[in-house]
Subunit: 198 residues, 2 copies
Amino acid sequence: MTTPRRQPTARQRIVAGAADMISRRGLNATSVRELAKHSQAPLGSTYHYFPDGKAQLATEAVQYGSAKVTRALRRRLHAGPVAGLRAFLKLWRGVLLDSGFRAGCPVLAVAVEEPTGEQNPPPIAAAAEAFAEWQRLLADSLREHGTDPAQAAALAALTVAAVEGAVAMSRASQIIQPFDQVAQQLEALITAALDRPA
Amino acid sequence: MTTPRRQPTARQRIVAGAADMISRRGLNATSVRELAKHSQAPLGSTYHYFPDGKAQLATEAVQYGSAKVTRALRRRLHAGPVAGLRAFLKLWRGVLLDSGFRAGCPVLAVAVEEPTGEQNPPPIAAAAEAFAEWQRLLADSLREHGTDPAQAAALAALTVAAVEGAVAMSRASQIIQPFDQVAQQLEALITAALDRPA
């Protein structure tokens, strides 16, 4: 539809594989060796592309996962906050169903693991930035469609939080119902926020 | 205030320590040896009390974390859904602030990790049951206070999902703001649900 996509490079394939693996297994439990294996990349080339090792690869994996969401949001928020929400929901629903409830969100996976070393390591900073970016995009769109700024920011935080939590609830129960209940509530809330412009 | 509490047994201390450790580090990355060390229990006594090893201890740790939440909810839901919500929020806000944003929810931690072995392992089943129980308690209270049954169930799912997601967002950003924004939205929603009885 738009510009033709180039084949991903070997480096990009490793990042995408790491994002998938982290969304399934978490970060602390996953070694660079396992990340390389999951991406079907030689361990040597993984260290070649990511000389700083696991923290560097994990940071880029979080950014990769985040950018996929950001692209989907940007593309659909042109049509308004409800369209943007639906794109956000569709993406996560797809991850759950396509993986048989085994994969989730790499950003959440990194966010809920205490760092073993330094205080504010790059992968967790990248996770914070991902959540903040998704909230900003949703909040900006809500404001542009007449929602009061403070309410727009809080409703955007609620949306991101609830979808992240719902992905985890559906993974635990192995059924899509919790996710769909949350999706329906969020759509009603965002629709109502537009019906009451400031 | 109520019956005096007994000192926890050695077994209970190990379960409580495991719940804290899992809420920080996740399950896959944590060995029985680390769980024992975190509880300041000898490894031998840990295997004595939990002969089935990590899966058994993790399952009880999830149930322990869940029961703490369930008790807080039951105690305050007598005063209505808003009081119950506030108890739920207060508990998680306390975990975040008391740990310097390093600890979160052991139930979520287990829910977002792909099992390495069997299809539906006991710790993940315990996580699903925990989420379901919290939702049931909130939904029952909403229904008793006049909310339509389907809406009560969906709003309860939204509440649990949003609080779990908000804990993760505050851990990533190391600030309480995302949690507080979500808390304020949920209180407004639950209050509004009571203002519109079926």
